[in-house]
Subunit: 424 residues, 2 copies
């Protein structure tokens, strides 16, 4: 462990620390220059007697942070900030997170913990393939590796053939990547006769997208690596909010730095352990952008507050199933693309490159699953797939099996849904 | 000044320090695991009695470093290295510079000095537009800004419209860029009605390419900034080897970290002050890749060893005129593309987007200068340009004036020469 004392803090101590830091964060925010402080003007931090009082404090939403653009939601003068990153901005105005030196140190600390969970030490050589720039991914891994003294191979995004060449020639032992990127590396490896078994690669730390257990097994088999699921977002301070460990029993979220809640995405009501809902994060140690009850839109559930087999005591949540915004409603049925992916990947003839196209045909929803094959699929298997999708979805969808390479490869996050329905 | 004591060290002290560090570097290299140590096996560091003995030590060339690929030329085990960057590799196998923690600190120090020369303080907001990754540019500025506590806007390469938007909305006061990039920003600004006078931008730190004084004046007028010419390369430890100051009387090279020589590119003979030749660099404080007499291929001359008006005492060299490898020989005449650029930019109707195409026509060299116009050029001016090019080159070349946007805009370094002659 990178920080054994904090990572194994008994539950009671964690909650004591959280309560104390929550009060401090609220007070800090109220006295700050953030325009969000108005939300808390009638709340006295000392009135918060226990963590269960958290539910009386209003949520913070992404739209509010967007309204702050560029810096109205930042709690300190920009002169005190040293770095910034932004959300992708694909769905509108980007959210800026401006970071103080303290924030960069906090980020380095939680990322160093995550990399240690994934088994990395100063002996490792980490190839960082998420881009370095406004996107927080590249720099997050950089700061964690810096803290641990890991040798960084800063390839950044793209140039898959060069990535493979360097992986082999420079003795890369671990890669960091956006979750869909290994599919591309595996594809290019096959095309170019590259053999992952001839490399020293043993670990892949993947995140920034929802990825199914089936996809995970496929990557691990193809690349001969152990994968780790890392989560985080620009708003909460970047990648490193949590990671799953070798025990594979949920994602540890660093509770000395964050409070975790799960709420009903419709009503906002807190949900009990085990029930699926929206992940809500309160930051306890961030200075540039402290957040109280931030609605992440990510769907998960709390697995356990008990200590994990790995010895860590922090809360474990389920791997992210999808984002509220990604949830599809087709013919009245709610589901996530990752759930369809999980079904597709049970078929060895199919690749992880797929798209869901939803259209309005004669006034009704119609969905087509377009998926690439890696080899021919038998009529029998195809029938089985149809049945299985029907059993899950409860409606019939079209299935199009297309040749390898049909679906466009894009740098960055994969685009898997094309919803062409007329919005009413 | 960032480090007043070292930056104003009297000449005598500089040379004493250099001699001592040169001996230390040689000893270090001889006892290291670098395959380059063989070159020095008959040299006893204690036999070096003065800096003028340097000329008896063999040069190091880029080809030798390439032979070391990936790590044979690195002086320490990779486990002791924390980062790496590579040369572009466009002309063959890339050179890797693997850096220890000490190297990163050295880099941060010289970059902090450079940014301070350019007038930056912790109050500034620096938009870093060179890419972050294997290329050293982005990270070099990052480490310098980190040391000074400057607010970093890490845009990286490309997306010029977004660069301008952020420049204005986030209050950017300084940008770092590859020298040809401002031309693209100015172009996009004109197309989109963007006015640099509505920004807080006041400084542009440019490097990684040869750029003429005329281009410099043009950028300064168009963007309303003061520009600084920064030099450096992957092999010597990245950007930050030197920078010119407001006095505009040459580029200061940090002599407590590097020894500067100018040699005849053909014979390797050391040249006296004022005579143009190839820049040769010896590193005095680098651990991963210490270099003795590295042939940079850059053409310049020593301007002065006297203290500058800015108070700094380190040697000043002329702005880089070109690289030996960039030198063109057409119809027996030697010249650099930047010299043609300087002539073109005297004409307000012409833009800094140009290409030199050299072909073999009927067994003879023929050169065509293709240049974009920003407005119509009169027949009279065109005749004057022809005369001026002839006066400089001593032979007639074709001139093609093409519409704006004809020449392809590429990310990264500009491609200005197309030599299509049959190699004999």
């Amino acid at each position: 462990m990178f920080n054994p004392e904090m990572e194994t803090l008994p539950r009671e101590e964690i909650e004591k620390l959280q309560l104390q830091r929550l009060r401090k964060t609220l007070l800090y925010l109220k006295n700050s220059q953030s325009f969000l402080k108005e939300k808390y003007k009638h709340i006295n931090p000392e009135d918060i007697k226990s963590l269960s009082d958290l539910k009386y404090i209003p949520f913070t939403t992404k739209d509010e942070l967007r309204e702050g653009y560029p810096f109205k939601h930042i709690a300190v003068p920009i002169e005190r900030c040293k770095r910034m990153h932004t959300s992708s901005g694909t769905t509108g105005v980007p959210v800026i997170n401006a970071m103080t030196e303290g924030d960069i140190n906090q980020w380095g600390e939680i990322m160093a913990r995550c990399l240690t969970v994934a088994g990395l030490t100063s002996e490792d050589r980490l190839q960082i393939t998420p881009s370095f720039g406004l996107f927080n991914g590249g720099f997050g891994f950089h700061y964690g590796a810096e803290r641990l003294g890991i040798f960084i191979i800063p390839t950044g995004a793209g140039r898959s053939l060069l990535q493979l060449k360097l992986m082999k020639e420079l003795g890369t032992t671990a890669i960091a990547a956006i979750a869909s990127y290994p599919a591309r590396l595996i594809e290019v490896a096959k095309e170019s006769g590259f053999d992952f078994r001839e490399t020293n690669l043993r670990v892949a730390i993947l995140g920034a997208e929802t990825w199914s257990d089936e996809y995970r097994r496929w990557i691990e088999a193809e690349m001969g690596v152990k994968t780790y699921d890392i989560i985080g977002m620009t708003e909460t301070g970047g990648v490193g909010l949590g990671i799953d460990c070798s025990a594979r029993s949920g994602i540890h979220i660093w509770e000395d730095h964050y409070i975790v809640e799960i709420v009903d995405p419709e009503t906002g009501e807190p949900l009990p352990q085990g029930q699926e809902g929206e992940l809500v994060i309160t930051t306890l140690t961030r200075e540039g952008l402290p957040l109280i009850r931030y609605r992440t839109r990510d769907i998960t559930k709390i697995i356990s507050f008990d200590p994990c087999d790995c010895g860590r005591t922090h809360v474990r949540v389920d791997r992210i199933k999808g984002r509220c915004d990604d949830m599809l409603k087709v013919k009245g049925v709610n589901f996530y693309p990752s759930q369809v992916e999980a079904i597709l990947l049970k078929y060895k003839a199919l690749s992880p490159y797929y798209q869901l196209v939803i259209e309005t045909v004669k006034g009704k929803d119609e969905m087509t699953v377009i998926v690439e094959k890696v080899k021919d699929i038998s009529q029998e298997e195809l029938e089985r797939l149809k049945l299985e999708l029907y059993a899950f979805l409860g409606f019939h969808c079209n299935i199009q099996i297309v040749p390898k390479g049909t679906i466009q490869r894009v740098p960055g996050k994969a685009v898997r849904v094309h919803d062409r329905r007329k919005k009413s």
